[in-house]
């Protein structure tokens, strides 16, 4: 995995100098999502000011993935607001973000064509850039292969390459390594770290405590749709404040 290969691409330099992307701070107020009478995300007030990797943790059904979708504007909230850098979630803001899903949704095309699709849609179609992206995620020389015949880990790396093709200021990752083997997890974490090093803000959903410890700069802990705790990773893991987080970290059953 060669880090920094993308830095040679035009248009990146200006942003790497900035400490935090212009889309920050993220500010949600009373963010709520109810479906069929059930409140799945419940009045979340979240402030993300700094760059780096924010890990969103919590037991199944805590609302982690839904929170990510709300932050990205894929699901409209029932109540409350999301503001990125003081701006509402309009298409212009959303185009400065990219999201990778738990299961990669790849086009029925070649590996290269999957990346080209996003590059073209952003008006940046260039073979050199596509090849750089594929090399960056360890898929150099695979451009002509059918994307859907890649292994699970390779598919997820391609999904990341495609997300990075959009040159996002914010990268939203919804359990991208769930159900992948350890080698693939290591590869994907390296790509995520490289993105952080280039100044991309990352919001990473996982319920893997080990992974959270490896990656997190700060941790958002959700429990039953509510924000149970948000703090720097070190403090969160050493002395979690909420009972739910303590129980979760101890491996006790949290429902």
């Amino acid at each position: 995995m060669r880090e920094g290969v993308l830095d040679t691409a035009p248009g990146r330099a200006a942003r790497t100098e900035a400490a935090a992307p212009a889309l920050l701070p993220l500010e949600t107020r009373g963010l709520t999502l109810a479906l069929d009478g059930r409140t799945l995300v419940d009045g979340i007030d979240l402030d993300l000011a700094g760059g780096g990797i924010t890990v969103v943790m919590g037991p199944n059904g805590a609302g982690k993935s839904l929170l990510l979708k709300l932050l990205h504007g894929l699901t409209p909230p029932t109540a409350g607001s999301v503001r990125w850098g003081g701006q509402p979630l309009d298409p212009a803001v959303r185009r400065r973000q990219a999201m990778v899903f738990q299961t990669a949704v790849l086009l029925r095309r070649s590996v290269g064509a999957n990346v080209d699709f996003v590059l073209r849609s952003r008006g940046r179609g260039a073979r050199r850039r596509r090849d750089a992206l594929l090399a960056h995620v360890g898929l150099a020389g695979r451009a002509r292969q059918p994307a859907r015949l890649l292994s699970g880990g390779e598919q997820q790396r391609l999904a990341l390459a495609r997300a990075l093709a959009a040159e996002p200021e914010v990268l939203l990752l919804d359990e991208p390594t769930a159900s992948l083997d350890p080698a693939s997890v290591v590869a994907i974490e390296a790509i995520v770290r490289a993105a952080r090093a280039r100044g991309t803000k990352i919001v990473f959903v996982t319920h893997d405590i080990g992974q959270a410890r490896r990656l997190a700069d700060d941790v958002v802990f959700l429990h039953r749709g509510r924000l149970a705790e948000h703090g720097p990773a070190g403090r969160f893991f050493d002395a979690p404040r909420s009972e739910a987080a303590r129980a979760y970290l101890d491996g006790r059953l949290v429902v």
């Binding site: 894929l74 899903f101 949704v105 086009l107 029925r108 095309r109 996003v118 849609s121 859907r148 015949l149």
Partner: protein, 235 residues
């Protein structure tokens, strides 16, 4: 039954010797129906894709209407096109009645609803899979429709095939707007109808055989393409 046996033998002879009259009729049939299919796809596939994606009040009614139009009776389509293209009709000045162009128009109208309805069905399944990813990428409508049609291309070949099958096999519309004029607008189905009524079973049967062979050949080709595509996980 003896007549039938003789007719079959004569028919095979006509096909085997590539009888010029037979070839002319087959070529015109293919030209008309393939052109009509291509035009119907050009219009119908994007509309089918748009209908697969769009959610608007009254969408259900539109779907019912499009599905109902799949069963348009060819003679009715022929009659409506005839009324428009006839000398007294609004498009009479074009002088298209009894030309292959009129037949193409009639067949296109006949099969466009089929292309729309079937492609909507196929692409709605694909859309269910792609929707979140495409929303995330903030694609334009045109980009979305284009990508859906392209990624569904192998499934859509079956849709085009259904349209072509309907076009090449129908007789009601082309006989009304084409008139079954020898060397000008005589296609396989109209010729079969005419020759049967005239008692020339050999030519009618020969044309019938060619029609069947075309249906088989095109289906085999599409099936082969789809299987190849499936191997690459493109279908």
């Amino acid at each position: 039954m003896q007549d039938f046996g003789q007719a079959i033998a004569l028919a095979l002879g006509l096909v085997g010797s590539a009888d010029p009259d037979l070839v002319e009729i087959v070529v015109l049939s293919l030209r008309v129906s393939l052109t009509a299919t291509a035009l119907a796809c050009l219009v119908g596939l994007p509309l089918g894709a748009a209908l697969a994606i769009a959610r608007f009040p009254g969408r259900g009614a539109v779907l019912v209407l499009v599905n109902a139009l799949m069963g348009l009776p060819p003679v009715v389509v022929g009659l409506v096109v005839y009324l428009h293209l006839s000398r007294a009709g609004p498009l009479g000045f074009l002088g298209l009645l009894y030309t292959p162009t009129a037949m193409i128009i009639a067949q296109m109208i006949l099969i466009t609803p089929i292309v729309i309805a079937l492609s909507r069905q196929v692409l709605e399944d694909l859309w269910a899979e792609y929707a979140e990813q495409f929303h995330s990428l903030c694609l334009t409508r045109v980009e979305t429709v284009g990508a859906l049609v392209w990624d569904g291309r192998f499934a859509l070949m079956t849709v085009a095939l259904a349209g072509f099958g309907r076009a090449v096999a129908e007789v009601g519309a082309v006989i009304i707007v084409g008139g079954n004029i020898d060397h000008l607008t005589r296609v396989m189905t109209t010729a079969i109808a005419l020759e049967t009524s005239r008692g020339d079973l050999a030519l009618a049967l020969a044309l019938g055989l060619v029609l069947l062979a075309i249906a088989l050949g095109v289906n085999a080709l599409v099936q082969g393409l789809r299987l190849t595509a499936a191997r690459f996980a493109y279908a």
